[in-house]
């Protein structure tokens, strides 16, 4: 019964989406107020319908209703409740329902908080949003019905893929989707603006919070996914340049560019057509990501079931959405009026450089990701493009980005004084050199790239702090004034400082992880030790343990440094009972600057075990940096100025074309 309600709710949502995609759009074209007014309530209804459908699916998973095929195939009564719930989106059908739920959630939020949007823009944006929803609902109902019944029902379910039974992966998909799908809002606003033929500062002010919100979640989702791969797969890496990772990284790169170019539209009324293009590209890349991951073109943990029919459906959808929006862009964009002028050396100029570097970087990732697929389709040659390619293309583009990032915030709008900026950044240069020298000394004999990379991070961190310090008057005013200024600074300024500083931390972590890692692999008995980087890992014993739906062998290592025990690590080899699959659970001890990482391998049957241990300096900084970036995003989102545009609460509606308040 519950499943049928869910199925019916999805069909209802499809009908509502159809109405919402047609009427408000037509109403806006003809000036029919009543038709336009349908947009907001229908967006709410659509959210309710998809919410009901998702709730029904969630319920079926929570109570382990194995008469539903999807539950029977992807869950098991022995799973802890959290993984029963996570199973809802740990499969193709359920994850698509989550996709449309988040899409409807964004539509609903615009309907709810967008009271101050110009009525035509709001109607058109919600219409475009509903078109996307319609396509995906149709996709679900036609090719991936999550509510299909199974008769007779099995006694128990087939279990969730054990690799996905992990807290990191329970949270990773919802966050990533929130980001992916969140960019649909910027896309819908961009299409609406193209139809209106008008982009102004107010438009950017409305689009930015939605973009920022999506960016925050995409950043969090990617970091979480990377963290999961790091500790769960047991290969010790944090980023593999795997096509599936790239699929989420490309929208992030272009979305980050969009976030910055929208600032120029808002403040300076320039870069409009470029910003519109970025909004279209960001969501297009999100769609391409969905296609790559869901169609089964790539075989990975994400391709739950490969079904050519689905791939073709998404491909057609992709062609219509991307082709259509770009055609609309080509037709309408030339009519948008250009705005403020500026010199190359200016804040605008630096943001353009940021945009060029980020989009170029995204293009190299795009080529590296899609070229193998293209070559296979055209010639049948099978190649893989791995980390060496991306290290040779992506990394060189990040270096000028980091250098420019130091200068950018120092430059004033329109025309800036580069000499002055260089003057103020002298100290950052000194910091960079000192950091490089210290790092080179400490790691003497190892790759010099590590020291240089750390120097760049030092440059970035120092310049971010210098810029922030000069804003609040450190060194010029007394403590009270500084404090007053710091608290009076817009949250957006705090957010920018945090996000950029987080990037510096992450860059340092990435450098350390790729250059200075130590590892050793040995076959050892209980009592034997492996030594790396001044640490001695001793295998104490291996026990058999039992979990809720698995059995495991757990090795206990004690780690000594200078004769003192600093950590105890207990990696496991698990065997999940239902599917009979084995997984490796690594054990990690983290301190402020390094990870100690141990993996238990297979036994040889004569009392020896293969053990692999790593010393990974600076790796924790990757997650720390990502977390600081996310925090910066939230702080910036809480800025009063942005709330004027989007989620408004208890605030008198401002006239639609109110002039942008001064900074």
């Amino acid at each position: 019964m519950i499943a049928e309600i869910g199925h019916f709710a999805l069909m209802l949502a499809l009908v509502v989406a159809l109405v919402q995609s047609a009427l408000p759009l037509a109403g806006a074209a003809r000036g029919n107020q009543a038709w336009m007014a349908i947009a907001a309530p229908s967006a709410m209804v659509q959210f309710l319908c998809t919410g009901t459908a998702f709730g029904c699916l969630l319920y079926s998973f929570a109570v382990s209703d194995f008469t539903v095929m999807n539950v029977a195939q992807n869950s098991n009564s022995l799973q802890p409740m959290i993984y029963k719930i996570a199973s809802t989106w740990g499969n193709h059908e359920g994850s698509m329902v989550l996709w449309v739920l988040i899409l409807a959630l964004f539509g609903g939020m615009v309907a709810l908080f967008g009271g101050n949007l110009p009525p035509t823009l709001k109607a058109r944006a919600l219409s475009v949003q509903a078109m996307i929803a319609f396509a995906f609902l149709l996709f679900i109902l036609m090719t991936s019905n999550p509510f299909e019944r199974l008769s007779p029902p099995p006694v128990d379910g087939r279990d969730l893929n054990p690799l996905l039974q992990d807290i990191g992966l329970a949270l990773h998909p919802p966050m990533l989707y929130f980001g992916y799908v969140g960019f649909s809002m910027a896309f819908s606003f961009a299409i609406a603006a193209l139809i209106e033929g008008k982009v102004d500062a107010a438009w950017a002010r409305w689009v930015r919070p939605w973009t920022l919100l999506a960016w925050i979640f995409l950043t969090g989702g990617i970091v979480l996914g990377s963290w999961w791969a790091y500790y769960e797969l047991g290969w010790g890496g944090w980023w593999y340049w795997d096509p599936v990772e790239n699929a989420s990284f490309m929208p992030w790169l272009v979305g980050t560019a969009l976030l910055h170019s929208a600032i120029v539209v808002e403040k300076r009324d320039a870069l409009k057509t470029w910003t519109i293009l970025l909004a279209i590209l960001t969501f297009s890349l999100s769609l391409i990501g969905t296609f790559l991951v869901r169609s089964g073109v790539l075989t990975s943990v994400h391709a739950f079931a490969t079904d050519p029919e689905r791939g073709v459906f998404i491909l057609v959808l992709l062609v219509i959405a991307i082709g259509g929006s770009l055609a609309l862009y080509a037709w309408r964009a030339p009519q948008l009026k250009g705005g403020g002028l500026f010199a190359p050396i200016s804040r605008e100029g630096s943001l353009i450089l940021n945009n060029l570097l980020l989009t170029t970087a995204a293009a190299t990732v795009f080529i590296g990701t899609l070229y193998p697929l293209l070559l296979d389709a055209m010639t049948g040659d099978k190649i893989s493009v791995g980390p060496p390619f991306f290290n040779a293309t992506f990394v060189p583009l990040m270096i000028p980005l980091i250098i420019a990032l130091g200068f950018g915030p120092m430059l004033s709008w329109k025309r800036a004084d580069l000499k002055g900026a260089v003057q103020r950044l002298k100290f950052a240069l000194i910091v960079a050199m000192v950091v490089t020298a210290i790092a080179a000394y400490v790691t003497w004999g190892r790759s010099i790239f590590g020291a240089i990379g750390l120097g760049f991070s030092g440059w970035l961190a120092a310049s971010v702090l210098i810029e922030f310090g000069s804003r609040i008057g450190i060194g010029r005013s007394n403590f009270g004034d500084v404090l007053r200024r710091a608290t009076g600074l817009p949250r957006a300024a705090w957010g920018m400082m945090l996000a950029h500083f987080g990037f510096a931390i992450l860059a340092a972590g990435a450098t350390g992880a790729s250059v200075w890692q130590d590892e050793a692999i040995q076959s050892i008995r209980a009592g034997d030790a492996i030594s790396i980087a001044g640490y001695e890992f001793t295998l104490r014993n291996v026990d058999n343990v039992r979990g809720p739906n698995y059995v495991a062998q757990r090795g206990v290592f004690t780690v000594k440094q200078d004769g003192e025990i600093v950590a105890t690590l207990a990696p496991e080899r698990r065997r999940y009972l239902v599917q009979g699959t084995e997984t490796t659970e690594s054990a990690i001890f983290t301190n402020a600057y390094a990870d100690l990482y141990a993996v238990l391998g297979e036994p040889d049957g004569e009392g020896r075990w293969i053990a692999k241990v790593y010393f990974k300096p600076l790796v924790p900084w990757i997650w720390l940096g990502g977390a600081v970036m996310v925090l910066g995003g939230f702080v910036s989102l809480s800025d009063r100025r942005l709330r004027v545009g989007a989620p408004t609460r208890r605030q008198a509606p401002t006239p639609a074309n109110a002039p942008a308040p001064a900074e």
Partner: protein, 157 residues
Amino acid sequence: MSTPTTGRTPATRKKRRLYAVLAGLTMLGIAAALVLTAFEDSIVFFYSPSDIAEKNLRPGQTVRLGGLVEADSVKKSADGVTTEFVITDMNKTIAVSYKGLLPDLFREGQGVVTQGTLGADGNFIASEVLAKHDENYMPKEVADALKKSGKWKEPEK
């Protein structure tokens, strides 16, 4: 942060556009150069044992080798951490040695993809054995290679 404009006039619209286009083109040029050089050095081809027998690999060239792990071929060498096994496409075989942890789903008789270089003795030295994510999964490249050698059997459902 915004400061008033200085006395000089900002660049004209045309000039500004020219700058932007030039910057864009420069960036594209750099990117193209990076991509092309990187492609030359870092593309890894996938070969089956039969392909390797036909092609002349450069010494030290990194390739991917895929096929089935031959039954009863997996052996641990004396150091306890190096595994030796034979990869076959049911046509040709090649001996592989790999030092490291094998993925959880590495099994005799199942598909596998390894990455590494061909040694002087004709044996393959793998630096990576790629993980598969479930026991029914057959790497796509391996399936295609088996189809090519005519030994492909549809997996039973």
